[in-house]
């Protein structure tokens, strides 16, 4: 009887250990993927396309992000969208889309204000204030693709570019039209 109880306890312990290790492995994997996604953002490894004319003061764009985890790529799209609007701009095309230049016209600003942007683009950072998913989190059919070992996920987001520009101007990161006058 005692032997059986010991065996059960050992078995349960093993199962629990397996479950916990799997969870922590998953968490470690996710963290790794997030770290990689952040590096991809810094390296401009994402694509932005215009999907239409947004409401006044906003850009309506689709951001394609890459990650081994589809959920990470989807979440990173918001960060990429704000990053792209500030540093990259996007091309025009159909649906009345007009090409838009990056808010930061000076390419050196990313390095010059590195400390500001590190905090701004930190996980849960201020960038979240200027972006929202326009489809309530739903990703369209054909917008999740497996490319090699990674997923390429396209998410339509709305970036509040007027508010973003105003706040960056107020923080002295980019120049306003009336700066110096």
């Amino acid at each position: 009887m005692k032997k059986a109880t010991t065996s059960i306890v050992v078995a349960l312990t093993l199962i629990a250990g397996l479950v916990f290790s799997n969870t922590s492995y998953a968490q470690i994997g996710e963290k790794k993927a997030e770290k990689k996604a952040n590096k991809d953002t810094e390296a401009f490894r994402y694509e932005i396309e215009c999907v239409g004319n947004g409401a006044q003061g906003t850009y309506l764009i689709k951001v394609w992000s890459y990650s081994k985890k589809a959920t990470v790529a989807k979440e990173q799209s918001k960060k990429n969208a704000v990053h792209g609007v500030i540093f990259k701009g996007f091309a025009g095309g159909g649906k009345g889309c007009v090409a838009q230049k990056a808010l930061a016209s000076d390419p050196a600003v990313e390095q010059d204000k590195a400390a500001f942007f590190e905090e701004f683009f930190a996980d849960g950072g201020k960038y979240m204030k200027y972006v929202s998913e326009s489809t309530d989190g739903a990703v369209g059919a054909g917008d999740v693709m497996k490319v090699g070992k990674e997923y390429k996920v396209g998410v339509v987001v709305s970036v509040m570019k007027d508010a973003l520009r105003a706040d960056l101007e107020a923080a002295g990161v980019i120049k306003g039209l009336s700066s110096g006058f």
Binding site: Q100, E169, K175, G176, L177
Partner: protein
């Protein structure tokens, strides 16, 4: 020691305050001649046998609701960017009311306001940069689209300093005001981007102005008059070389009677740290020519921030 530090700090504060603000250009939106012509807002008159057409802005503002909507939208968006524009319609009304007031104004002694023909000629609605606006409705079967053009023109150098142009998506259902609003919203950021580049260039390389030198026929000298082996025209060029930013200017025309200097890059602040413009800059040239060995009496006239004319020989 403390006093010395305080003195240095206060000098630095005064200097930095002086250098804080350059003279801000004014901007006004006006419909292009092409748009006015297409929409029938032109006045035709006979100029010594030649039929001349000029835009009738007042009629355009009074008659076209679309034009008013577009201008109002642009003005609003520019104000949001911290750069409020001059309203052309209001400027025209102010000119009219000022003319009426001047006509009625008399002093207690019976004197009236003096106005030379040049003063009258200068009484137009003006701005340093004109945002020239035009659009065209394209129709393909039931579909409509808008080709929109916004050009920022420097009033003095005639250079196009900003631009945004494009054709919107064709639509079956959208009405013209909606298509126009979409065009303004999608094009204005690009326009402001190019305008910002123009301002950045101005802060880096100085304000670009145009200087004209003329002579009164009553003066017996001219720009070929010799001063110590150098013609007056060359003396003025030397002065410009010394006083412009990096010696940048182009002599476009030079005869014995007139000289035209374009792309003259002047500093935004004078030696005292005060914001300056074409007139302030040319005051230096005026003083230089007034002083010996030249001792040439001259008259300085200006137009906005970027154009000045010096007429030699009289006041």
């Amino acid at each position: 020691m403390k006093k010395l530090v305080l003195a240095i700090c206060s000098v630095m504060l005064v200097v930095s305050a002086g250098f804080g603000q350059a003279k801000k250009p004014t901007i006004m939106v006006l419909p292009s001649d092409n748009w006015c012509n297409d929409n029938g807002f032109m006045i035709e008159f006979d100029n010594q046998g030649t039929k001349v057409k000029v835009p009738d802005y007042k009629k355009a503002f009074q008659s076209s609701s679309d034009l008013m909507n577009v201008i109002s939208k642009i003005n609003g968006l520019m104000a949001d960017r911290g750069f409020p524009l001059k309203n052309a319609e209001s400027a025209l009304k102010t000119l009219e009311s000022e003319s009426a007031e001047n006509a009625m104004l008399t002093s207690k002694g019976g004197g009236s306001v003096q106005e030379s023909p040049v003063d009258k000629l200068k009484k137009t609605a003006k701005a340093d940069i004109i945002m020239q606006l035009s659009w065209k409705v394209n129709t393909t079967g039931p579909k409509k689209s808008i080709t929109f053009n916004l050009a920022g023109l420097d009033s003095y150098t005639d250079k196009q300093v900003a631009t945004a142009q494009g054709t919107g998506a064709p639509s079956f259902a959208a009405e013209l005001p909606i298509l126009l609003e979409e065009a303004v919203l999608s094009q204005l950021d690009n326009f402001n981007g190019t305008l910002q580049k123009h301002f950045d260039d101005m802060f880096a390389n100085g304000r670009e102005i145009v200087i004209r030198v003329k002579k009164f026929d009553s003066w017996d000298g001219d720009l070929e008059k010799d001063f110590g082996g150098k013609e007056l025209g060359a003396v003025i060029e030397d002065w410009l070389k010394t006083n412009t930013v990096k010696g940048r200017f182009s002599t476009t025309d030079m005869t014995e009677n007139m000289a035209l200097f374009e792309q003259v890059r002047i500093p935004l602040y004078d030696a005292g740290g005060n914001a300056t413009d074409a007139r302030g800059f040319c005051k230096g040239l005026q003083k230089f020519l007034n002083a010996p060995p030249y001792s040439i009496t001259n008259k300085l006239m200006m137009k906005g921030l970027g154009q000045a004319t010096i007429v030699l020989g009289d006041k």
